[in-house]
């Protein structure tokens, strides 16, 4: 159930866990499959690769795994009799073997002794082209931001909204999607009304700093350049990271996680970890695109022994997990709130372009004041970024008593991901629909 992208899928999956829904079912040691009655004419073909716990389904749902995949797994967990050993149908074979092929191809490509000089030259050329595009986009953006300030943000109407959207799209064209996202976030804040003007100015200001960075990239240190690239939305190659990264092995406690829909086809999953021995914080960031599910299973409160390879940057948080295995569960860390905000300050001081940093606040009490949900801690009161329904469940969870809260601090509000009561190992977890604008 933890694989479920949200509560609605989980509920829908439960509804499908009944014999009558499945026209055919089958399993073998590597995979599960079935055909499920849906609202279309033909039944949907669903299959699950047991080794990777990845699902694929012919239904039009955009969620991964979809409710049919989840239902199949539930039936498997319930050891449903119809999921017995049987002959693999053609379509299951096709998918599994194409997966194998892809995996093999990847291996082959990796093992093939490529001509190092040629590959390096090709890579360098691609990089140069991309920087050129980014330069051009950044120059346009700088002019445009100055125009906005000159004109004044006060006059903002549907025309301006169009203009801002178009500019965000232009950034994506210039291969700097990070700039586009920041601009889109500024546009959302603008549309929310005068209460968030300050935020808009700040976001535009940070965009300007990014542009400065782009202009002066030759003079930047390697880590600063890494910050810049991440902020621009230019991902570092996973394999390169794996090779050159800083390794940290530890028992990692899962603090909390969230899956957010980025747009039509893309969703983003963030999992926050804390090393029990090193006290190091880490972020596992994955994307799911149109059929490729999120892999891996991380439950809030569980501990996993793993080696994390951190991406480069001035305030390294994002990491890749390797060699993950379950370990004994650890007790919740006793951290002082002062230390927590000190740490957050340091992260932002080193890299102001971080979208969010983790905050662990112990002994915090949530309250509701009008329609604003706030968290009272020994270091002050923070506004929370939750929808009303989620705010009430958090309040019901606390009952006015202090609880330990983990969330993402973005410089303005805290997005609470999970909360813990002392002496209770069932946490409150944010529903994926509970994030406010």
């Amino acid at each position: 159930m933890a694989l479920a992208p949200d509560a609605a899928s989980a509920k829908a999956a439960e509804g499908l866990v009944s014999d009558s829904k499945w026209v055919s079912l089958g399993a073998d040691s590597d995979a599960l499959w079935g055909e499920c009655k849906g609202s279309g004419a033909k039944p949907y073909q669903t299959q699950v690769d047991l080794a990777a716990l990845a699902a694929r389904c012919s239904c039009p749902s955009r969620k991964f795994p979809c409710k049919h995949g989840l239902a199949l797994l539930l039936l498997y967990a319930q050891k449903h009799p119809r999921l017995a050993q049987s002959e693999r149908p053609q379509w299951v074979n096709e998918w599994l073997s194409s997966r194998k092929e892809k995996a093999e191809k990847k291996e082959q490509a990796a093992s093939k002794p490529a001509d190092p000089a040629a590959t390096a030259a090709a890579a360098a050329k691609r990089e140069a082209t991309r920087w050129k595009r980014i330069d051009s986009g950044a120059a346009d953006l700088q002019r445009w931001i100055a125009d906005q300030f000159r004109r004044g943000l006060g006059k903002f109407g549907p025309e301006q909204r169009q203009e801002w959207s178009a500019m965000a799209a232009r950034m994506v064209d210039a291969q700097a999607p990070g700039l586009g996202n920041q601009l889109q976030a500024a546009l959302d804040a603008m549309s929310a009304g005068s209460g968030r003007y300050e935020e808009v100015i700040e976001r535009l200001g940070l965009l300007q700093l990014l542009i400065e960075g782009v202009c002066r990239r030759e003079q930047l240190s390697a880590t600063r350049l890494a910050d810049l690239r991440t902020a621009l939305g230019w991902p570092h190659d996973k394999d390169e990271v794996a090779e050159h990264a800083e390794d940290v092995s530890d028992d990692w406690l899962v603090l909390g996680q969230i899956v957010q829909q980025r747009d039509e086809k893309l969703s983003e999953r963030r999992i926050w970890l804390r090393g029990c021995n090193t006290g190091r914080y880490a972020l596992l960031l994955d994307f799911a695109f149109n059929g490729k599910g999120l892999e891996g299973f991380w439950r809030a409160g569980a501990s996993h022994a793993a080696t994390l390879k951190f991406y480069p940057g001035s305030a390294p948080l994002r990491a890749l997990a390797t060699g993950q295995s379950a370990s004994q569960s650890k007790s919740w860390p006793q951290l002082s709130a002062y230390d927590a905000i000190e740490r957050a300050s340091h992260w932002f001081a080193r890299n102001p372009w971080l979208p969010q940093v983790p905050l662990v606040l112990n002994q915090a009490t949530p309250t509701i004041d009008g329609d604003v949900c706030k968290l009272h801690t020994e270091v002050g009161v923070l506004p929370l970024r939750v929808r009303e329904a989620a705010a009430w469940t958090l309040l019901a969870f606390s009952g006015g008593q202090p609880i330990d809260v983990v969330g993402e601090w973005d410089g303005r509000r805290l997005l609470p991901l999970s909360a813990w009561r002392s002496g209770d190992n069932r946490p409150w977890v944010l529903d994926n629909d509970g994030v406010a604008e």
Binding site: G15, S20, G154, E198, E202, L209, I341, V381, W392, G399
Partner: protein, 502 residues
């Protein structure tokens, strides 16, 4: 960011205004301004610098607000891993209300309260449905009441401490809300009828009409001849509703002077003819309005949209205040015979309507007679009559086949006659359920939206013992989504109820 910044940004940056931050950052800002750029560009650079600095200075307000008192612990809360918990979550999220009601009753029966994760949904369900509240309030626990204090929508849960708490606290009478005062008076009336009446009498003159009406209605419980004096005085109350209420209450005291007066007015209209071979009763409506009637809350002017004619209107008002027992004793006919006799009279509509209003839960034979008569005047309101009968007695009036119930339109009445928390008898339920299985197998529900809704409600009122033999319906390949949803909900309701009683 201070006001000058905001103003510049909103209005338009036009000159190299000296924007200041505080302390050390001013040096940086001066440097930026000094680069001789275009003012807007300088502004955006400065904004960037300011933001980077602000982000690095994570600090929060420390307003001097006192936190609300935390809720007391609920030691008897159901654990989240309790076997009911997933069913309860679905019940509160999707209803129906009767199922939620039953769940609350069962939780109370095991001396537990709702787990905290269900409280917001349960309180929302209580907000939407008044009927649910009586069962909900005892199981929300301290935490539920604590939550209710924080949310205006859930105030109903806050006011109510359970009825017992409210009622035994004399402060509720002095300072409470109307609902609390009604509850208090009701409790008091149950313990000490006379005392409650005196309490009410003392404060009557100060109360507004609505309060008077609600509190006087409490006197219906334990009504006795001693209340006559107070009620007589209320016949002259300023408010029409209160007068009508007092008249109705007085009329149910057969030996009160009020009832005697009414009988005196009515009796002459009922004449007994003695023919050669037969004896029959005749009933005539009054020819003229008697001015003395106004002291008995009888109105002489007929309301505009009243279906009855003027004389019938007067007759009806007289009839509805005369105790039913008088009719039986005066004419020697029993309830059934009286109904049959009235059916042939010119004044049938007035008689029937008057009698119907007088019928109370004590008048068993009248209820039975009305139900058997199946006159069209009684067509609506059957559910109320049925509700006045005990469950076993009701079922004798219904065919025990779903088909017949649906065709005669009685199925909604069957369901409506069960108060929240009441169920049908086991045998009746078993019969209906086996018919339901037949319907499901024969695809009867496919096209009938109304029927599907009733079937779901039916599942909530059948006796829990009858669910032991429930078998899941066969699913078909060509189910419509609506039908599939109906069957899914049906199975959920059955499974939930079985779990609650397992």
């Amino acid at each position: 960011m201070s006001a000058p910044w905001l103003k510049q940004a909103l209005v338009g940056v036009d000159s190299t205004a000296m924007l200041s931050g505080n302390g050390e950052i001013d040096a940086l800002l001066a440097q930026i301004a000094g680069q001789g750029d275009d003012a807007a560009l300088a502004f955006s650079r400065a904004a960037g610098a300011m933001t980077a600095c602000r982000l690095a200075a994570v600090s929060f307000d420390t307003p001097a607000i006192a936190l609300p008192e935390p809720a007391a612990a609920d030691t008897n809360a159901l654990d989240e891993s309790h076997r009911w918990s997933s069913w309860l979550t679905l019940a509160f999220a999707q209803g129906p209300v009767r199922l939620q009601y039953e769940a609350c009753i069962r939780i109370a029966a095991v001396n537990a309260v709702l787990p905290s994760n269900l409280l917001p949904q349960a309180l929302e369900a209580g907000k939407r449905s008044q009927a649910l509240r009586a069962a909900l309030l005892p199981v929300i626990g301290h935490r539920g009441r604590w939550l209710a204090r924080l949310n205006a929508d859930w105030r109903f849960a806050m006011d109510g401490m359970t009825e017992i708490d409210a009622a035994s606290d004399p402060k509720a009478w002095e300072e409470g809300s109307l609902a609390q005062r009604v509850a208090y008076l009701r409790q008091h009336r149950a313990r000490d009828a006379a005392g409650a009446r005196d309490l009410l009498q003392q404060q009557l003159s100060e109360m507004p009409a609505k309060e008077r009406q609600e509190l006087v209605a409490v006197l219906e419980h334990g009504l006795s001849a001693d209340d006559e004096a107070l009620l007589e005085s209320l016949l002259k109350d300023r408010s029409r509703d209160v007068r009508q209420l007092a008249a109705r209450l007085l009329a149910s005291l057969p030996h009160s002077t009020h009832a005697q007066r009414l009988i005196a007015w009515l009796a002459p209209l009922l004449t007994h003819k003695r023919g050669l071979l037969t004896r029959s009763w005749q009933c005539e409506a009054p020819e003229q309005a008697d001015p003395a009637w106004s002291s008995a809350a009888i109105e002489t002017t007929r309301p505009q949209h009243e279906a009855l004619g003027e004389r019938a209107w007067w007759l009806y008002q007289l009839v509805r205040q005369v105790p039913l027992s008088w009719w039986v004793s005066h004419t020697g006919m029993n309830a059934g015979e009286l109904l049959a006799w009235a059916a042939k009279s010119d004044w049938k509509a007035a008689l029937y309507r008057g009698w119907r209003e007088r019928v109370g839960s004590a008048d068993r034979d009248w209820i039975e007679a009305i139900l058997t008569a199946r006159a069209k005047e009684f067509a609506s309101g059957n559910a109320e009559l049925l509700a006045m009968l005990p469950t076993q007695a009701r079922e004798r009036h219904w065919p025990d086949s779903l088909d017949k119930l649906w065709k005669s339109g009685a199925l909604p009445d069957v369901i409506a006659s069960c108060a929240p928390g009441e169920t049908l008898s086991t045998e009746f339920s078993r019969a209906l359920l086996s018919d339901l299985h037949g319907w499901l197998d024969s695809d009867r529900l496919r096209h009938d939206y109304g029927l599907r809704a009733h079937v779901l409600e039916l599942a909530t009122v059948v006796h829990p013992d009858s669910l032991a033999n429930w078998r899941p319906p066969l699913r078909r390949d060509d189910e419509t989504p609506a039908l599939a949803e109906c069957i899914h909900d049906l199975e959920r309701i059955v499974a939930t109820r079985r779990a609650l009683y397992a």
